[in-house]
């Protein structure tokens, strides 16, 4: 198995176990909210945005209305970065490191800058273009995820596993746009 991705049956079983255990022990998995918490931590370090108060259930509030919503729940997490959900999201990076160091899939030199599907279409010399597209893509993805209230993990995986219809609605919105965009952007017509 060295260097190869797990096949769908074993891989799906493993990922499914992680999803179930997280829900059983704490709550369903989610990732995109933690980008807001990270923004809040950076924002608060530059100019204080989160304050303690007795007027909300969480004991915190913020001048930013998004951090202040739901009785200051996000504001509290910004003020306490060692909260479960934020530490969970940060720890995903350790999983990538450990898997790669053991028997997980390995990167080629070109893949450090851009995935193979990109290199097959645009060549390997355009790494700045790939960085730029990743940056813009990230902007759209997190803005969209916040409008939707979740992402692939929170809406799609955790949502559908609980038979929540919101997961299906989110998946519909995502795929109806992402499929044609990927087909056009990575079409092999005019490829190198």
């Amino acid at each position: 198995m060295n260097g190869k991705r797990l096949e769908w049956l074993i891989g799906g079983l493993f990922l499914g176990l992680v999803l179930a255990v997280a829900m059983i022990l704490i709550k369903p998995i989610g990732a995109s909210t933690q980008f807001v918490i990270m923004d809040g931590i950076i924002w608060d370090a530059i100019s204080p945005i989160v304050t303690e108060t007795v007027e909300t259930k969480s004991g915190y509030t913020s001048d930013n209305s998004y951090l202040a919503k739901n009785e200051g729940a996000y504001a509290k997490n910004v003020a306490n970065p060692t909260n479960y959900a934020f530490v969970f999201a940060l720890s995903i990076v350790f999983g990538g490191i450990i898997s790669k160091m053991t028997q997980g899939p390995k990167l080629t030199e070109a893949e450090v800058n851009a995935p193979t599907v990109w290199n097959n279409k645009f060549g390997t010399e355009n790494r700045l273009k790939r960085y730029f597209v990743s940056f813009i893509g990230g902007m759209f993805i997190l803005f969209g995820a916040r409008v939707a209230g979740g992402c692939t993990s929170g809406h799609m995986m955790s949502g559908m596993m609980q038979t929540s219809l919101s997961g299906y609605l989110f998946a519909f919105g995502v795929f109806i746009i992402a499929v044609p965009v990927a087909l056009i952007f990575y079409s092999k017509k005019g490829a190198k």
Binding site: A20, Y84, I92, G96, K100, V117, Y131, V147, A171, V179
Partner: protein
């Protein structure tokens, strides 16, 4: 066990699984969206089936706490936000979670993705005052709705003719069948 330690263990396990199934590689996501390699679609469908089976059997037999359920509301934002998400997903090939894993794996484009993502969510935070009273967050199709016959935090069940665990198992069987029949590309690196 402290919540922080649990977060480290579960987050690491999630990242490890993401990496092992190949989800931190944008080629896998992009080739799935190009309908050339359904490997990750199979993984996702099957993982949902496995997780759903465990938690619903667990809740029916009483060893899983059903108050841990968390059903998100449906509104226009879910579908429009999904479409904005799809625009970025189709070109970048990272999700918020897989990008963090990819950073650990040593992918430099994932770092730029994360910086862009932090900026995108910052824009949303700045625009929230303007967006919060718009039609985006008006409840749609009944708001918090789930298929199975349960009412976590006032969510509405859609199918009450059969027990929740039966509905969940039927969905899990359908998802497993989809995972079984979808094709995996033999040489994904050539796509």
């Amino acid at each position: 066990m402290s919540a922080t330690l649990l977060a480290i263990i579960l987050g690491t396990a999630f990242g490890f699984a993401i990496h092992r199934v190949g989800a931190s590689n944008p080629s896998g996501i992009i080739n799935m969206l190009r309908l050339k390699d359904m490997h990750l679609m199979r993984v996702i469908f099957f993982s949902i089936a496995v997780a759903s089976t465990i938690i619903f059997i667990g809740m029916a037999s009483g060893f899983v706490d059903s108050t841990h359920m968390s059903i998100k509301s449906m509104n226009w934002g879910v579908i429009i936000g999904g479409m904005i998400f799809g625009l970025g997903w189709g070109v970048a090939g990272y999700c918020p979670g897989t990008a963090v894993c990819a950073l650990g794996e040593g992918r430099k484009d994932a770092l730029f993705f994360i910086l862009g993502a932090l900026l995108g969510s910052y824009f949303f935070m700045l625009g929230f005052d303007f967006l919060k009273d718009s039609f985006l967050f008006d409840s749609l199709f009944g708001g918090k709705v789930l298929l199975a016959d349960m009412t976590p935090k006032n969510a509405t069940p859609l199918i009450s003719a059969v027990p929740a665990v039966a509905t969940a198992l039927i969905v899990a069987i359908v998802f497993s069948a989809i995972a079984y029949f979808l094709p995996t590309a033999k040489e994904p690196e050539k796509l």
